[in-house]
Symmetry: C2
Subunit: 261 residues, 2 copies
DNA sequence: CGTTATCTTGACCGTCGTCAAACAGGGTGG
DNA sequence: CCACCCTGTTTGACGACGGTCAAGATAACG
């Protein structure tokens, strides 16, 4: 169901002086980028916009205008059914590009919203397109990031379509842990889940009540610990097992991840 | 659950003399393509491979080797959970490129299989990459097709996560009708659904039994007619309404579709 | 300190899953 | 030509997972 804007204020997880550093990290997570490409990217002009929680960056049906990179905070994509129930179709961390989806499509098929208070570096759409056109390496990196997003979509389809509540919830917790770590924003010991249980329910396609019960079950089972929204994972391997989680679909080639063990 | 190969033989829906004609149609469904780009694409060498039903074109974990375009027949992508239950994450019609997903990723995160007997035009991966590098228009068209695939993934997440069985099943029937029509393979009056109810169940994240009951309910409600696997839609608008179907996410800009009405 | 959002828990219900059997159709071989 | 078999479809009975409704508890904010 559509809900009223949450007035809660969130602390930003990270603030970077150079917004493009995190984008760079993201783009090079899957494939190396030539030094010249990195420099060209770093030379792009950008400006920062801050969004309050629940603020729309893109609204379904709009012609997207900005091309943004999430610098601090979290964001998500959502779609609504005709009767108003909501599904969150992806979550985004600092460093994630937000509008490659819409870079070439003239009408947004979904909305993008800030989850926490979020800082977004906006790049000029045309400049980025030109850069991608002139530098195949950058085009390739952008294409790759889009393909990885698509891979995550596929895993979510599997997760929602074929896993029962407990593994489904655990799976998302695992994915966030690994993605946060890959972006250098935490490790597998735990993190602050930046959303309400109602929002989490819209991520996993369950009701808030059942998410609450499932989290309790995971806690009772010794898979997770919770203090407020701070989640810790006393036994990562056990959690990974209940969540049926295998990070292959994240395509994190640079296997620096301790979680891979 | 994993199932044995089906020995049933399917008639191919269409056979085209020129496999690239359908790819062209697909790529230009969303955006026009310059004449020179069309010619360059048409000049690519290709060869045809035939796959029996259930045959794997790509296997999860493999390094993908071919870059294929579906010329005749149907194919699908699937993922498996740890306990062996299957989710079909996308369906593909003649004209659909099958391996742009894997064009730049070195390890397949899912499997691609023939649904019916299928003819696939295989292009040389390197040649296509080179072409995309030299011709921004083609790179853009490929990127666009990938973005549209991603949009369909998002809609499926919504469909499976937030719609109950009847609208969920109806939604997929609508999507196939519109996509078939967009490729010039039928119209909104109906089509031959090229899969078993068990496979359909893996598309919508339900059990075969419940799919059967849902189809019966749709039939009893006057939304669909069935004779074997031939589906006809006596009242398209009513079906579209129960399916909560809006074709925006398919991004068929050339609004030649009568279904849009 | 009151107001609001969020979390938690209980009771009950319904959609969908499970198990099982019967039925229909196509292909094959006797 | 018919018996048989194999898939796939259909139906029923039953059960469970998750949804719904509602109330109370907790925490955050003004």
């Amino acid at each position: 169901m559509i809900r009223a804007p949450a007035p809660t204020r969130w602390e930003l997880t990270v603030i970077h002086k150079d917004p493009l550093a995190l984008l760079m990290r993201k783009l090079t997570t899957h494939v190396p980028l030539a030094q010249s490409d990195r420099e060209a990217l770093a030379a792009l002009p950008w400006s920062i916009r801050t969004f309050e929680p629940q603020a729309y960056l893109v609204r379904e049906g709009d012609m997207p205008t900005i091309c943004g990179v999430l610098v601090a905070g979290f964001a998500f994509r959502q779609k609504l059914t005709g009767d108003g129930s909501r599904q969150i179709v992806s979550l985004h961390l600092p460093g994630d590009p937000l509008d490659f989806q819409n870079l070439y499509l003239d009408e947004a098929d979904h909305s993008v919203q800030a989850l926490t208070r979020a800082e977004v570096a906006t790049l000029d759409r045309k400049l980025l397109q030109d850069l991608a056109q002139a530098r195949p390496g950058i085009a390739r990196a952008i294409f790759l990031a889009t393909l990885v997003d698509a891979s995550i979509f596929r895993e979510w389809i599997l997760n929602i379509g074929r896993r029962s509540a407990m593994p489904r919830v655990a799976h998302v917790l695992c994915e966030l842990a690994v993605r946060l770590e890959a972006q250098g924003l935490g490790d597998h010991s735990g993190y602050d889940l930046p959303m309400t249980q109602e929002q989490f329910a819209d991520v996993v396609g369950l009701t808030p009540v059942h998410v609450n019960r499932t989290l309790k079950a995971l806690e009772d089972g010794g898979y997770i610990d919770r203090h407020k929204r701070k989640f810790t994972f006393p036994d990562w391997e056990a959690l990974r097992d209940v969540g049926d989680f295998n990070q292959r679909y994240l395509h994190l080639k640079m296997q620096e991840s301790a979680l891979a063990a």
